[in-house]
């Protein structure tokens, strides 16, 4: 995939997405939303794929969980990958399953040697099944766990080295985590090995009711701060496929495309990069 900008696909935008003439436009979907037997969802994705590159973004593999990836879930992902041949496949450094119960969230893990080995092995199982590399996304943080023995950036770099996975860097998650748990977002991004990065996410965030926490809510336009950090990041590592994520307060397709055009301008050098 050429390093162009894409947007998260929403069924409400189906006809505009199909008709868009934008060069290099690609679409990302949550893999779990398409793990169904048939019907309009899969038919829409089929039509979209006939015109555009796709990225499958998983939210339920629980790679940092205590158990190996669920075989049924992995088989469903393999079926999607084989059918749609996406340009990118990604998942999260998080867990969401425990003792047969599923939590529709991306829960944090302590970055220990044990968790590193377990994550690397789980990523290896997924990549072996899919016969391809996957990208792993940095999670959002809302609290500081006490038991970390690795920094997040060195953990991600080592995870990529051991498993052969690539990295999906969500700049908004970095900004939200930096605010909530007190680290420096610029330093964090500077410590990421650029050659491992296969995709970048950018989204909007909001404040919680008390105003003390930032929430990775995906319901606002991308913030100025995230734009600035993104420009600096791309200036250092070079252009990468970049997604505009929006889930809540879904705006018109044209508005998302305006944000997408801004990212595309940065990627192609039409908009001056930060010094």
């Amino acid at each position: 995939m050429t390093p162009a900008a894409g947007i998260g696909f929403k069924p409400q935008h189906y006809h505009e997405a199909l008709a868009s003439p934008a060069a290099g436009l690609w679409f990302e979907v949550h893999a779990e939303n398409y793990m169904v037997a048939g019907g309009p969802r899969l038919a829409m994705l089929e039509e979209l794929r006939s015109k555009r590159e796709l990225s499958l973004h998983g939210v339920g593999m629980s790679l940092a969980g205590a158990a190996e990836p669920d075989l049924e879930h992995l088989t469903a992902l393999k079926r999607l990958v084989d059918r749609f041949e996406p340009a990118l496949v990604s998942e999260h450094l998080a867990w969401s399953r425990l003792d047969g119960r599923c939590f529709p969230d991306l829960l944090p893990v302590p970055r220990t040697n044990e968790v590193l080995a377990r994550c690397a092995a789980n990523i290896g199982r997924v990549q072996d099944t899919l016969c391809r590399q996957i990208l792993i996304e940095n999670p959002t943080h809302y609290l500081t766990l006490r038991d970390h023995s690795w920094s997040e950036t060195s953990f991600l770099a080592e995870l990529a080295r051991r498993s052969g996975c690539g990295l999906l860097i969500d700049v908004n998650n970095v900004v939200v985590g930096a605010h909530n748990t007190g680290f420096d977002a610029c330093e964090w991004l500077d410590a990421i090995p650029g050659e491992r990065v296969g995709e970048v996410h950018r989204a909007g965030h909001s404040s919680d009711a008390e105003g003390s926490l930032l929430i990775d809510s995906h319901d606002e336009p991308v913030s100025e701060h995230v734009w600035d950090l993104y420009e600096q990041f791309v200036a250092r590592i070079g252009p990468r496929p970049t997604l505009i994520e929006r889930d809540g307060n879904l705006p018109a397709f044209a508005e998302l495309m305006r944000e997408r055009a801004q990212a595309q301008g940065i990627l192609t050098g039409d908009i001056a990069l930060a010094a």
Binding site: G38, P40, P104, L143
Partner: protein
């Protein structure tokens, strides 16, 4: 920690909202949110694929203390479930009128129900209520308080039919599901419901895409 707890509920609540939009319209958003959190606490997701979430919702509603004020609501939820199941089911080409002509003596043969077709008989006018909520503004209705059938058929991925059905159609579909021949189904339906035109009812089920051809007749 509260953020994680809220996010876990948020995912389940939004999945339930997506699958039960008419229940939400009837309850109002605020009450639906409370009901959905209660439901998610009792029946948390068992899989990360939330498209199917909430299969037990109608049965759970039956046991809520406040349901006596809305006795039709569990049936409306059952109708919404039929709709969701129809939308997510496998695709297959449905039996066409041309195929029936080719088959000739279809009356003496058996058919299969289309894999995306869902139907049920309900003790309340829940399908009438569901249909009235499909416009941008709910239609004003005064449904007759009697039982009725609901059918969802999806002959192609993007075409969905959602009619009310009568007892003869329900009897025919149930017979075909159990492997009766078309003629046996029609005879039984005709005896039970002589006021209905069973030939016309069968033709309308074919037109809706309720059946697929017998294996030997495909291609």
């Amino acid at each position: 920690m509260a953020v994680y707890r809220n996010t876990i509920f948020h995912g389940a609540v939004e999945a339930l909202r997506a699958n039960y939009p008419v229940v939400e319209q009837i309850l109002g958003t605020e009450m639906f949110d409370h009901v959905a959190v209660d439901f998610a606490s009792t029946c948390p997701p068992q899989t990360p694929v939330l498209a199917h979430y909430g299969a037990e919702f109608a049965d759970w509603l039956v046991h809520q203390k406040w349901i006596d004020d809305l006795p039709y609501l569990p049936d409306v939820a059952r109708v919404e479930r039929l709709h969701v199941d129809c939308l997510l089911a496998p695709d297959e080409e449905s039996l066409s009128r041309e195929q029936i002509k080719r088959i000739g003596s279809v009356r003496n043969g058996t058919l299969r129900l289309h894999p995306a077709m869902r139907y049920a008989w309900l003790c309340t006018p829940a399908m009438t209520i569901w249909l009235a909520h499909q416009g941008t503004v709910p239609a004003k209705i005064a449904p007759e308080w009697k039982s009725e059938g609901a059918l969802f058929a999806r002959p192609t991925p993007f075409v969905i039919h959602a009619p009310r059905i009568g007892p003869a159609a329900h009897r025919m579909l149930s017979g075909i599901r159990l492997g009766e021949t078309v003629s046996a189904c029609m005879l039984a339906a005709d005896r039970l419901y002589p006021h209905e035109d069973c030939t016309a009812v069968f033709a309308s089920l074919v037109n809706l895409g309720a059946f697929v051809a017998p294996a030997r007749e495909r291609n």
